[in-house]
């Protein structure tokens, strides 16, 4: 409570003081920061294209050798996407991995010597700071056309309290709330920088405030992203294969644990638990219908097929570790058939 009172009381002061500092520069534009940043932004096209589900989003280069940070969404469902660089070069991007808790993903393209952001060199910002937001909102830019840039300010530094459709958003951590309308269709995965073009954070998905129902404009601070991005690049948080080359004689199956997944209708059917068999290892471990299986033995499982495959790699008598998402909560459970 105390901190809230403090920030509420000092917000006007902060704005007032910053006001004088920023007015000087206000007469100049942001051409330099914009031209510096544009080459690091990419356009991503993948799955989607139905009503209200755009088949495109934004991303930005985080390494010279083609690692790209973006949001984890249905656009990446096919596993490969088309990445278009600022200069119009097109690449096939493969999903290197993702972090279901922050809903970010890393894509890799085969290229070198690319302009990029260094996640470790990201800066923090205070309410009142001027920002620039770069993204391919509404898919306006194609080919060698530049991403769109919006300007605004950091309005608040707070934790996200949002919903996506009828569900609470998965990420509930720190965010910067912005006074520009940054979170438009296709903008997710874009970048927020300060007026010098230094990285502040990643533009999040289109979410509504849980209480007011208003659309939120926010970015996730880079400090929240760098750990996961590093994990993905170093081989953690990688996807489970759909097929197993090495299958034990008696492999594990979800059914042996008392888990029935939802019917596997498409390649990327999200692995929600449909039914939990009474008096099974799953029921004893308090697994519930509607839980989403996000990891099996440390491998990400974006689909029913990857869950089946990941379990099939384990002998049915071995213990198995499963991570479940229940609402906004992530639960890690160890299961064993005999238990």
């Amino acid at each position: 409570m105390t901190t809230k009172v403090w920030s509420a009381l000092f917000l006007p002061v902060a704005l007032f003081l910053c006001g004088s500092e920023s007015t000087c520069a206000q007469e100049q534009g942001y051409e330099v920061a914009v031209s510096m940043t544009q080459p690091k932004i990419v356009k991503i096209t993948g799955s989607g294209g139905f009503r209200g589900l755009e088949a495109y989003q934004s991303g930005f280069l985080i390494s010279e050798d083609g690692f790209i940070l973006t949001v984890w969404s249905y656009v990446l469902d096919s596993g490969t996407v088309t990445v278009t660089l600022n200069d119009g070069q097109r690449f096939e991007g493969t999903l290197a991995g993702y972090d279901p808790q922050i809903e970010i993903a890393v894509i890799k393209i085969e290229a070198d010597g690319l302009p990029c952001f260094n996640l470790d060199a990201a800066v923090t910002a205070q309410p009142g700071s001027q920002i620039l937001a770069f993204s391919n909102l509404f898919g306006v830019a194609t080919g060698d056309e530049q991403a769109s840039v919006l300007h605004g300010h950091i309005a608040a530094n707070t934790s996200l309290d949002a919903r996506q459709g009828t569900r609470d958003s998965t990420y509930q951590g720190d965010v910067y709330i912005l006074d520009a309308i940054t979170n438009n269709p296709g903008a997710a995965g874009g970048v927020v920088t300060n007026r010098r073009g230094e990285l502040i954070g990643l533009i999040g998905k289109e979410l509504k405030d849980k209480h007011s129902g208003n659309w939120l404009n926010f970015c996730i601070p880079a400090s929240q992203l760098s750990g996961s991005a590093l994990d993905i690049r170093s081989g953690k948080l990688i996807l489970a294969d759909e097929q197993n080359s090495d299958v034990p004689a008696e492999p594990m199956t979800p059914e042996l644990l008392g888990i029935m997944l939802v019917p596997d209708v498409i390649r990327r059917t999200p692995p929600f638990v449909d039914v939990v068999v009474l008096d099974s290892p799953a029921s004893r471990a308090d697994i519930m219908p509607d839980d989403l299986v996000v990891e099996v033995n440390g491998s990400l499982t974006p689909s029913c097929r990857t869950v089946v495959a990941a379990m099939g790699r384990v002998d049915r008598d071995s213990p198995i570790e499963v991570t479940l998402q229940r609402g906004t909560e992530f639960i890690r459970i160890e299961l064993e058939v005999g238990r």
């Binding site: 009172v5 004088s20 007469e27 920061a33 119009g88 306006v140 530049q146 309308i181 659309w215």
Partner: protein, 595 residues
Amino acid sequence: MTDSQIVRALARAIRWICLICASTLNPLTTPALAQVEVSEAVLEAERQRIETIQRASAATISVLAPGGNGGGSGVLVTPDGFALTNFHVVQGNGSFMQCTLPDGLLYESVLVGIDPVGDVALIKLLGRDDFPVAEIADSDNVQPGQRCFAVGNPFILATNFQPTVTTGIISGVHRYQYPSGTLLEYADCIQTDAAINPGNSGGPLFDAAGRLIGINGRGSFEKRGRVNVGVGYAISINQILHFYDHLLSGRIVDHATLGATVGTGESGEVLVTNILESSDAYFQGLRFNDRVLKFAGRDITSVNQFKNLLGIFPRGWKVPVTFEREDQTREIIVRLTGVHAEQELIELTAGSRGSMEISTEYIEVPDDEKQQLYEYRAGFANYHFNLQKQQDIHESFLQNGDFSTSDEMWRLNGVDSSGNEVVIALADEQSGIQMDGETWLFKPSDEFSDQSGSPQIRALMGLHLWRKMLVYGPGEYGDTISFGSLPVSRVELARDPQAAGQLVLQMTDRKADVLKATRGITETYFYFEPATGHLLAMDLFPDVDVPATEIHFSDYQIHDGLSVPGMIDLVTPGSQIQRIELKRFEFSAPVDGGD
């Protein structure tokens, strides 16, 4: 933090707040309490910005739909009241509408011209010849990240006639926004995050210096309703300048197409994927699978970019096109054709616009003076302005002398580039030309197209019509309209050393006032130099879907009190350029002296 610490902190904070409130609410009487020193440079920058916005806003207008049914914005560009707005703002308003200015006055205005594809309309405010006007910038120099501001009448808030100012930055340039059907296409447009809301349509987008860079007209919206989400688009002022004289001629102006489509090749190159055999591009030599390298002076690297560029030109505009075929590069000049057939465009705009007749339902019936500012003719937004432009062109031409009494046979003697004699005889009943040891005759009483077979006869037909226009003027020539202005090409010696000594066509930066004249099915475009009234060139189409025969006139000199060309270049399709140096003029040659 202990309770006493909190209390002390709160007390400190409250003292601060009080100080700030005092200084903000009443800065003049309590300067000592302000505590915040603002440098003079900052204050000066602020003063400048206020001044810039005030100066730019003065030329911004609100366009009111009849009966108070919404409206939009606009911007004055000439002191005598011509103002730009969107086609979709004037759509359905009839020919007269009311506009307000920040000076607090209500003005009557009349519709002048419309560009339904580009979503632009030109109107003229009445009653003053000293309207404030917007200074115009070169919108090709606009860069992303630059500051800009929009002025207009969002949500029709300007009930006190004072416009709303929203500031932002340039979010993107050279944007392409697809048309709905074939109308309202935003090509090569400017994207901004300055708030563009319903009612801002037609209003100006200014750069940081308060110069006009575009006309705001649409935004990306989608799921959040029709309010600004930081993504607005403005039609670039450079595009509008291509169309301005066309609009001024009171027409319903069409956009251009190449008569060919392009697609992306395997390595991203832009290739011709389809081409109409009746298009000028085809006549000039462009073929299927040719690689387009340059269009209108800009390098072409993507299909989108090509569409962007094509979308900024009116029908009839000539552009240089560079293409590559089997490692050979060629540059041609292509006359762009229209997106629509003439009747099609009339129907498309009439269907959505309702009658262009004067609306009497909502606003007062215009008085006599206003009635004189409108004339109906199909295919025109307001034919009155076309007649006026035709008159202006003719008056400017009359600087060259009065040809109307020289209505007998003209006899012109000259030499071609090989030094051979050329004789041209032109008269109402029959004309002839003698060159290369042969004689050709042309009789206007016969069907024009029957005689249009040989290039020489087409050229002769052009010269016959040239005399006709000079002697009788646009009024008696036939069906004549002002077409606006178009860039003019010129015959000159090739710069390419491989083609040294050859005559080639080159585009120039100059624009000419164009009269389009129709006799039967023969269409002729006459290019007049605005300042001198000299006829610079003619494009003759003896039939539909045939290439043009061009005649270029240069080296003007005075002869018997009449200004006449010393040089004529005949550019016939499929043949070389024939240059004739004229040596002798007779304007009343005896008939039997002709051929």
